[in-house]
């Protein structure tokens, strides 16, 4: 079964079409990336898929539930780590996890269990009682992802998880994300080519609200004859500008 299926998903802001008639499917357990420069429409797409924004037209099924007609059902099976670090600054790591688990409806025992699991999975034992605002950017992102994972979602959305992190913190976060592969369907957005290349099973290249190409990093390289995803991306972007359509 597909974890996600979009059917002409479209979002317009006034005259601007931020997401344009998207059709793609993500099989269960896949690591899927939306790759595109700033303003390509990645966040808009994630917002629609997580019930945070109503499509102007079209629909998408997440875990078989329509994001237009069954928002509540969608919310129960997804986890999202939003683009900006979304943690309660004055709460500790443990309190942040408790808050999000409680509002997601976990009962007390399960909550304690899950918090323990998250703290060990992300190696946060030492900072568990530290306030979120005292953590470095990298640790705040880890907390943000742990919060998204706490309620055991079927689909995890990570919107630019490594934005603004230094290279070491980024690699560290990659390892954490890599560790989740296969356990859960993941949708990651990024504008870092090497990040999409290193982590994803498949990559959708988003340009000006449209999916300009979709395939595994290997397929995208072969289709464009490029030596890495960055050059493949440039070839795809240039072809898209000329009005050409390139599908791997």
């Amino acid at each position: 079964m597909n974890a996600i299926e979009t059917r002409g998903l479209t979002k317009k802001y006034g005259p601007k079409t931020a997401a344009d008639n998207l059709f793609f499917s993500i099989p269960e357990g896949e690591f899927f990336s939306l790759l595109g420069v700033n303003g390509a429409g990645k966040t808009t797409t994630v917002r629609m898929l997580t019930g945070l924004s109503a499509p102007t037209s079209g629909d998408a099924l997440v875990g078989g539930h329509s994001v237009v007609h069954e928002r509540d059902a969608v919310r129960r099976i997804i986890g999202i780590s939003p683009q900006d670090t979304a943690v309660a600054a004055n709460l500790t790591v443990r309190e942040n996890l408790t808050l999000i688990g409680t509002v997601c409806g976990l009962d007390r025992m399960r909550l304690e269990e899950r918090i323990g699991e998250m703290i060990s999975l992300f190696g946060m034992a030492e900072c568990a009682e530290s306030r979120a605002k005292t953590l470095s950017g990298g640790w705040q992102r880890k907390l943000s992802i742990a919060m998204a994972l706490l309620s055991e979602p079927q689909v995890l959305f990570l919107d630019e998880p490594t934005l603004g992190l230094d290279v070491l913190a980024r690699r560290d976060l990659w390892r954490v994300i890599e560790g989740l592969r296969g356990k859960i369907t993941m949708v990651l957005t990024t504008h870092y080519m090497e990040e999409a290349e290193a982590l994803s099973d498949r990559v959708a290249v988003m340009i000006a609200g449209k999916i300009a190409a979709l395939g595994s990093p290997e397929e995208l390289r072969q289709a464009t004859g490029a030596k890495d995803l960055e050059n493949a991306f440039i070839a795809i972007a240039e072809a898209a500008q000329k009005g050409g359509d390139l599908h791997a």
């Binding site: 919310r75 999202i80 939003p82 943690v87 004055n90 808050l99 999000i100 509002v103 997601c104 409806g105």
Partner: protein, 256 residues
């Protein structure tokens, strides 16, 4: 209910763990309490000016303190709305009422605690400067000011939802100044009369101060205490409902 309480606890901690809250919500009203008591000492009795005497000052200072809790509510809500923490909570099964009640409840608790602390300080001041305040009166004042606390909490949620994060601090300062002036904390609107008195009578702040002052001296008649308290309760209900409605509408719009 669990969802709402979990969110309320977070909002309580956001204010309690911010040192600036103590500066504005406790230290500043305390400084004003001391300052006005000193000023009162230098006013000659012939002037017949009793506004800054502790038995009239205490109620005004308590309401003044509540208006700063409103400020912190405005700042907290507008900051949440600008950031993505709220977005993350929007993506959970939380209902709009969980958000609004979760913002209002901690402010209500904090305002009761604040009035108790300011009352204790007023008692100490009264022991030094006289006339001595009654503990019963101070307790009744604390209870009387609960609806006023709800009124300021509601105003905080309302303005926090309407104002942008950038505009919130400036606009809240204006509202605090106006509520202090129009509440008759630092001057007597009755002696001013005219349009100013009419404006004061049209807004709930003066009634909050009046009911607090009456409660403090155990003047529990309808005119001195019952009527102003009723006006404050009515305003608190209206403002809280309006704030909840506005928040719900804005939340729907955000999710569109």
């Amino acid at each position: 209910m669990r969802k709402m309480l979990a969110f309320a606890r977070r909002n309580l901690y956001e204010i309690l763990r911010d040192p600036i809250s103590y500066v504005f919500c406790l230290a500043f009203p305390l400084v004003m309490l001391g300052l006005m008591t000193l000023i009162n000492k230098s006013i000659p009795p012939e002037a017949n000016m009793t506004l800054f005497r502790i038995d009239r000052l205490a109620g005004g200072i308590a309401v003044f303190g509540q208006s700063f809790l409103m400020l912190f509510t405005v700042l907290a809500v507008s900051k949440d709305r600008a950031g993505s923490f709220l977005v993350r909570l929007y993506a959970t099964p939380m209902a709009a009422s969980d958000f609004t009640a979760g913002y209002l409840l901690p402010v209500l608790l904090l305002s009761a605690a604040q009035t108790l602390l300011l009352s204790a300080a007023a008692l100490l001041v009264s022991l030094v400067s006289g006339p001595t305040l009654s503990v019963g009166g101070l307790f009744l004042m604390t209870v009387t000011l609960i609806p006023s606390g709800a009124l300021f909490a509601g105003l905080g949620l309302l303005f926090g939802t309407l104002f942008s994060e950038k505009a919130a601090p400036a606009l809240s300062s204006i509202i605090i100044s106006l509520s202090a002036i129009l509440g008759g904390i630092w001057f007597d609107p009755d002696s001013a009369g005219g349009v100013l008195l009419k404006i004061c009578k049209a807004l709930p702040f003066r009634y909050a101060v009046q009911s607090a002052r009456a409660a403090l001296v155990l003047d529990l008649g309808w005119e001195a205490w019952g009527f102003p308290l009723t006006v404050v309760i009515g305003s608190a209900v209206l403002v809280t409902l309006a704030a909840s409605l506005v928040f719900r509408t804005r939340m729907r719009a955000d999710l569109n």
